[in-house]
């Protein structure tokens, strides 16, 4: 019998204050997006010429824009759009990137070399520039934006997943799987991929944030979601013309974007700590 005492099942460290704030912010945004898709206090695209550029009041909590549209409603509807695009992009880019990265890292050989060459070439473009290029040659619209952003982010995912798979491949438990007679496919699916889950989750979270920011930037430039559909970036762009008359137009959407990004970053950090073996336990 061993004289070493078995360790207590170690406890996983609880999330800190930053993580809690982040969760609250993200939850608020997701809730807003959900609400915005079914109900808004006013019609977000309905023009109300009498009420243009109204200051915030009890009637219109955040005021109205240059077309008389209620800002609060537009924010909610814009949340739906931004969150949609962010989630879809994150989903597509993560899935495609993980499959390609895992295949390249595990199979190696010529497949790996080709993948690296292509990914390096794609990574030579700053992601926003790549997205702009794709938007330039398509007709626009939500799915075009999703497509462009996903394409721009896949190389980053591939790189990270591939690196992780390469590290895992060198671990002894992978050799043990081979020695037991498992096929390569089985080893990949049973041993390697589950061990990349943590990192993929962190990546997907970050992608959500980047995609949201990129979509806002594209909409700000006028190349994202086409009007009159509300989007936070678009609202910011519109506010430029009315700085002197209605400065609040610039505050609301910008604050929304910043708060969302802050929340995602905080949650992302907490997730990273959760999955890093060094900071995972107490």
């Amino acid at each position: 019998m061993s004289d070493e005492s078995a360790r207590e099942p170690t406890r996983i460290a609880r999330p800190g204050p930053g993580a809690i704030i982040g969760l609250i912010l993200v939850a608020a945004v997701l809730l807003a997006a959900l609400t915005g898709s079914i109900y808004t206090p006013f019609d977000p695209i309905g023009i109300d010429a009498d009420n243009r550029l109204a200051a915030p009041s009890l009637h219109h909590w955040l005021g109205t824009d240059e077309w008389g549209r209620d800002i609060t409603s537009r924010l909610l509807a814009g949340a739906t759009v931004s969150v949609n695009i962010g989630l879809l992009t994150s989903l597509f880019a993560t899935t495609a990137g993980t499959l390609i990265g895992a295949a390249a890292g595990f199979i190696g050989g010529w497949l790996d070399r080709i993948v690296i060459a292509v990914m390096d070439a794609l990574l030579a473009f700053p992601s926003l520039i790549m997205a702009l290029g794709i938007v330039a040659v398509t007709n626009g619209g939500q799915m075009a934006v999703v497509g462009a952003l996903s394409f721009a982010y896949v190389p980053s995912v591939v790189r990270v997943v591939r690196a992780s798979v390469l590290t895992l491949r060198r671990k002894d438990f992978v050799d043990a799987s081979t020695v037991m007679g498992n096929s390569r496919a089985f080893t990949l699916g049973r041993h390697i991929l589950p061990n990349t889950v943590g990192m993929v989750i962190v990546l997907a979270t970050s992608l959500f944030g980047w995609a949201l920011l990129a979509e806002s930037a594209l909409s700000f430039l006028g190349l994202g979601v086409p009007p009159p559909a509300p989007s936070w970036g678009g609202m910011l762009a519109d506010s430029r013309n009315y700085f002197e008359d209605a400065p609040w137009l610039a505050l609301a959407p910008g604050l929304a974007i910043a708060a969302t990004l802050l929340g995602i970053n905080l949650v992302g950090d907490a997730l990273r700590d959760r999955f890093d073996p060094r900071t995972r336990y107490l």
Binding site: R7, P9, D172, V179
Partner: protein, 596 residues
């Protein structure tokens, strides 16, 4: 007896704890007292968690992050060290007390030249000008045996081997002629032969400058050869203290007894290998293994590295063959080729009568079922996301058993390796190193294999745990009757368990024979050097045990050839020559020779 030397270092009831939010949370050193007279060597011996490293760090005020001294006193030549203002403490560090760490590769800044780092302490504490400091350092470098001090002075740490780096560290630290040297596991990361060289050098140098040494190590056998006194620690407390002889021959505390019992010693009754009955299970013929880039894009074609050269050996059913060698000897590579994790480059491997190259697909499936491996690193050999029960049951995957049956068998096996029943649902990170290794073994034997390759199965474990795990392996082998290829760099571990031993050096077999042949009648100079570097407990005529190192007794090679030296010219022709029954030694033949 002459008057005893003055006390240099005094530690009084030292307690060190890890603190969280200012409050002590976990005690790592508790109520430890020791005294070290000037010029003597005191060894602190303990396994992981004993707190020995913390004591060394506490003396210099270098406790990591959250650890702090919560009570006690430390005095160096009368000066209280705890609570000393930072500036004065810095003067003592490096000037009066020097420290050598375990892993020289990480103790030196990889981006600075050796010379710069060596001169830092000298210039600071001895107030030397650069020219004199440089001369002093060069002098120390040649003193520790570095062949070309000038070039080494200008080189970067990455260009040296571990043993050489440790010698450079010694030179660097002792150049300021401190009064006390704290050596924290100074040789643990080195090969057996470098270990002895570095220890001898350390003792010699400190003797010359009259420095006292606080030697911290887990290796009771090694420190007993050099220390004046030994203090045994466990879980932060002092267990026992005495001269090496007293500790080894008359251990009072039961933990000390366990430590001494775990020292390598000859098991009586394991001497003769079972008579080879029938065909050998594994036959290797002229096996060579090379690896490296085949056609590099930018690399020269000659970067292929020859790990193993023309090795031939047979492994008989039911025996334990040990391959022993230092790193770079090729022993691990052979193991991996035999278990088919690597491809050989030339030669034949015959398993159970059939050559690898003629294996059909079904044969490979059967091969995988009948062969298993136990890995070295308990921290990377278990999938962190699987429960222990699942890990072990995976070994039964190819057999036609129901899920229920597999779980049952897994539970049985875990019990057999000494783990409690509820461990089925535990995860690897909840286990200690020794327990993980047991799981590894359980996974290997659950399918009842006939051949197990054990690659350094215990080198990452504490000494007493090593002993337990090796005993487990012996017991299981007796029960199930599988054949074992044991790969190790530690001659002590191998002695308990092996029937036959094969010594390798730089890819060549240097000597092969029964356990007794190798340990009692080693012929090749390399084998002898390895043995000298491994002190073992042996019976004394007067009864009891003593820690001995065999003397080097150069043996005469058979007429007509010299002992093969792998570092010699490539024109050498290594051949195995039989010098006794089943005892082969590698010769460099000049002409055909027969030994009667």
């Amino acid at each position: 007896m002459s008057a005893s030397p003055p006390t240099l270092l005094e530690v009084e009831r030292l307690t060190v704890s890890i603190c969280r939010r200012g409050q002590p949370f976990h005690t790592v050193v508790e109520d430890v007292s020791l005294t070290l007279p000037s010029g003597e060597i005191l060894a602190l011996v303990g396994q992981s968690g004993s707190g020995k490293t913390m004591i060394g760090r506490a003396i210099l005020g270098l406790l990591p992050g959250t650890a702090a001294v919560t009570s006690g006193a430390i005095r160096l030549g009368g000066t209280r060290l705890l609570g000393l203002p930072a500036a004065q403490l810095r003067r003592i560090r490096g000037g009066e007390v020097g420290m050598v760490f375990q892993e020289p590769r990480v103790s030196l800044n990889p981006t600075l030249r050796i010379g710069v780092q060596m001169m830092e302490a000298l210039q600071l504490h001895r107030d030397m000008r650069e020219k004199r400091a440089r001369a002093c350092c060069l002098d120390m470098l040649s003193r520790v045996g570095i062949r070309d001090p000038q070039t080494s002075f200008e080189s970067y740490p990455a260009q040296f081997s571990g043993g050489m780096l440790q010698r450079i560290m010694l030179a660097s630290v002792l150049a300021t002629r401190p009064k006390l040297l704290i050596a924290d596991e100074p040789t643990t990361a080195l090969d057996a032969i470098s270990r002895k060289q570095v220890m001898d050098l350390m003792v010699e140098l400190t003797g010359e400058i009259g420095a006292a040494v606080l030697l911290i190590s887990h290796d009771l056998g090694m420190v007993s050869q050099y220390a004046n006194r030994v203090t045994v620690l466990r879980n932060g407390r002092v267990i026992e203290c005495g001269t090496p002889d007293a500790i080894l021959l008359n251990p009072r505390h039961e933990y000390t007894r366990a430590l001494v019992g775990a020292l390598p010693r000859r098991q009586s009754g394991n001497a003769s290998p079972p008579q080879p009955s029938g065909d050998p299970l594994v036959r290797i013929h002229d096996l060579s293994i090379e690896y490296g880039p085949r056609r590099g894009f930018l690399s020269k074609p000659a970067t292929r590295h020859r790990a193993v050269s023309a090795v031939s050996v047979e492994i008989h059913r039911g025996e334990t063959l040990a391959i022993v060698g230092e790193s770079g000897s090729g022993k691990t590579t052979i193991g991996r080729v035999l278990i088919r994790l690597l491809e050989s480059t030339a030669g034949r491997i015959v398993f159970d009568g059939v050559d690898f190259r003629r294996f059909t697909r079904e044969r490979w499936v059967e091969f995988r079922r009948r062969t298993q491996m136990v890995f070295q690193d308990p921290y990377s050999s278990l999938d962190p996301r699987m429960q222990l029960g699942e890990i072990v049951a995976e070994g039964l995957r190819n057999q036609r058993l129901s899920g229920e049956q597999k779980r049952g068998r897994a539970a049985e096996i875990l019990a057999e390796v000494g783990l409690p029943a509820d461990f089925i649902r535990r995860y690897p990170h909840e286990l200690s190193g020794g327990q993980r290794q047991r799981v590894c073994i359980a996974r290997a034997i659950v399918g009842e294999p006939s051949f197990i390759v054990a690659d350094e199965p215990v080198s990452a474990l504490d000494v007493t745990i090593q002993h337990q795990v090796m005993q487990l392996l012996v017991r299981l082998q007796a029960k199930y009757g599988f054949t074992v290829l044991l790969i190790s760099h530690d001659l002590g571990v191998v002695e308990q368990v092996a029937n036959r031993v094969m010594v390798m050096y730089r890819g060549h077999v240097v000597e092969l024979g029964s356990r007794d042949d190798i340990y009692d009648r080693p012929c090749h100079p390399y084998t002898q050097r390895l043995l000298c570097a491994t002190p073992r407990m042996a019976h004394r005529e007067e009864g009891g045990y003593a820690l001995i190192t065999p003397e080097l007794r150069p043996a005469e090679p058979p007429t007509g050839c010299r002992w093969f030296d792998p570092t010699s010219t490539p024109s050498a022709q290594p051949t195995l020559v039989e010098v006794g029954r089943g005892h082969w030694v590698c010769c460099d033949r000049q002409e055909a020779v027969h030994v009667s």
